[in-house]
């Protein structure tokens, strides 16, 4: 199980220039383990910067990124190895598909890692299966796939490298509710089977509530909250104050208190709310 430790990280865009922007401000954080961690925050809160530091796409202005006990910038020439260990699926990754067939596109990473053709082939099949891509699609051009299939192909391309840490920036953006559920279920399932640490960056509170074990909320370049879904969503007034939202069901639970029906502050899924309401009512009548 991989762990990334951020030690006193600051990141400044355009450091030394008149318009420098401090995107991250002295952050210390350990992410990883066998969990799905969600990172939330409004546009400009620093979450994308944070994600790009994890695999060495950006170098911190101050502080250290420690992966498996080693500072990833200790030897800058070896930063490429970090990119194989920390797989980053960017926003709208389907725009990055480029090869002639889906198979070749997924194989690009493993080939660059220097694997034999047999190994590459095995990796491609394994990744396609995890991502929920049917084998028949592998010999098609990526550009002939539907939007949801393209998203899966791009995801498979990263999974094929068997990263220790899989980071996904808005993996479900732009998909319909059915497509969102499918891709997030695939990711959750992949996490369980492979034991890989998964980090999901998202604006969707509803998705976070259903798929993440831990939620980190970013605000103005700092960690604003860090805890379980129940802990984070129960502080809904603070979330709203930083331009975020909570699932609609959390508001319903809050309103129910006015009628003497207190089902707690930690309500963030419909299933839980239903169970709590029924439990309360049946308890009262007993």
């Amino acid at each position: 199980m991989a762990q990334v430790e951020l030690q006193n990280i600051s990141f400044i865009y355009g450091a030394g220039e008149p318009y420098e922007i401090r995107a991250l401000d002295n952050i210390s954080l350990t992410i990883g383990g066998s969990t799905v961690t969600g990172i939330m925050g409004h546009t400009g809160s620093g979450k994308s910067t944070l994600v790009q530091l994890l695999n060495g796409l950006l170098k911190p202005t101050e502080g250290k990124v420690i992966l498996d006990g080693k500072d990833i910038w200790e030897d800058p020439k070896k930063i490429r190895d970090v990119r194989f260990k920390v797989g980053l699926v960017m926003q709208y990754p389907e725009y990055q598909l480029f090869d002639e067939t889906v198979r070749d596109d997924i194989a690009f990473g493993p080939r660059n890692m220097g694997m034999s053709p047999d190994e590459v082939n095995a990796r491609v099949l394994e990744a396609a299966q995890f991502a929920g891509l049917k084998e028949a699609l592998l010999d098609k051009s990526p550009f002939d796939l539907s939007g949801g299939q393209k998203r899966r192909a791009a995801l498979a391309g990263v999974i094929a490298m068997r990263p220790e840490l899989l980071v996904l920036d808005e993996p479900a953006a732009g998909l319909d509710p059915g497509g969102r559920e499918e891709i997030l279920n695939s990711i959750r399932e992949y996490q369980k089977i492979s034991g890989t640490s998964v980090i999901i960056v998202s604006h969707s509170m509803e998705d976070m509530a259903l798929y993440c074990d831990r939620v980190i909320v970013m605000e103005a370049g700092r960690v604003f909250m860090d805890g379980t879904c129940a802990e984070v969503f129960s502080r809904y007034d603070e979330l709203i104050s930083v331009g975020l939202d909570v699932p609609q069901i959390t508001y319903v639970a809050s309103e129910l208190k006015k009628y003497g029906l207190d089902i707690g502050r930690d309500v963030y899924t419909v299933k839980y709310a239903t169970a709590k309401i029924l439990e309360k009512v049946r308890g009262d009548n007993a």
Partner: protein
């Protein structure tokens, strides 16, 4: 009666369309005998899973695609008739504008007000008229104080409002929003939805809003659900969302308020399903449980 009825801004009759394939083989219909009429001044949300035909429908209504069969009428004029001239089509396009998903793909200038002026300039309007329209459009989307800012430094929600201003400056009577909120954060989404609602209510601009967010769909006065190239449901938000099972079958969702009420109803409580406001939802539950 018929003389009093207003001409729909958009009317589609028995329209079918299949995308051409590389090898000339037949592909299934993206739109399959669709008929539909959009009243001027209405706010219509269009829902449907990816591939259900909703974006194809939008491209038909903005005359980007030409139907295989059936017709598209804009403001009472049949755009699919044999005698339609290029000038007629241009004239119709001047009535319907479109705002797309990705804010970064819609900005062409390096200064906000120049971006908004791009459309009116291309209409060949005199410069004082352009100035007037740009100021007015920026004020309508609440972006006046950013007139001289660089668009790339704005947030996603602000960029989308600039894109909307560009359309308003061309005086479009109908605006189609093709998942224009999909890439925005919650605050940005709210900004854009509030702007859309205001344009509809105060400026009487007809709005067609394609979205995957059920909470946005309930804000209009009509919801159309597409599935397999056909219209599956068409009604007020209250009518449409009263049938969660049909929406789930179409790979869609319902607001969480409706989902909660649906589960309580299945557990034997007498509740309505067509409630989208958390406060009203709580009141309905309290009533059904005898807690009032």
């Amino acid at each position: 009666m018929s003389t009093l009825q207003k001409t729909p801004i958009i009317e589609i009759r028995d329209l079918s369309y299949a995308y051409p394939t590389d090898d000339g083989s037949a592909s299934s219909n993206a739109l399959d005998h669709v008929s539909l009429s959009i009243e001027e001044g209405s706010f219509v949300s269009i829902l449907g899973h990816n591939g259900s035909g909703k974006s194809t429908l939008a491209k038909m209504m903005s005359l980007i695609l030409i139907p295989d069969s059936g017709s598209v009428m804009i403001d009472g004029k049949n755009m699919s008739a044999d005698d339609v001239t290029e000038e007629d089509i241009l004239e119709a396009r001047r009535k319907v504008g479109m705002v797309f998903q990705n804010p970064d793909n819609q900005i062409v200038a390096t200064v906000v007000e120049e971006d908004v002026a791009f459309g009116p300039e291309n209409l060949g309007l005199p410069s004082e008229e352009i100035r007037r329209r740009v100021d007015e459009a920026l004020s309508l989307v609440g972006m006046s104080k950013y007139a001289r800012h660089a668009p790339h430094k704005l947030s996603g929600g602000q960029k989308q409002r600039i894109a909307i201003a560009g359309i308003i400056a061309m005086r479009r009577r109908c605006i189609i929003f093709d998942e224009s909120t999909a890439m925005l954060d919650p605050a940005g989404r709210k900004e854009v939805m509030d702007t859309i609602e205001r344009l509809n209510k105060e400026e009487k601009i007809t709005v067609l809003h394609i979205t995957h967010y059920m909470n946005e769909a309930v804000r209009g006065d009509r919801v159309i659900v597409m599935d397999g190239g056909r219209i599956l449901m068409d009604g007020t938000p209250k009518e449409v969302f009263s049938h969660p099972q049909r929406l789930w079958n179409a790979r869609l969702d319902v607001p969480q308020t409706t989902e909660l009420l649906y589960h309580l109803k299945k557990s034997g409580y007498d509740v309505r399903l067509d409630i989208f406001d958390p406060g009203e939802c709580a009141a309905e539950i309290a009533k059904a449980l005898g807690k009032q």
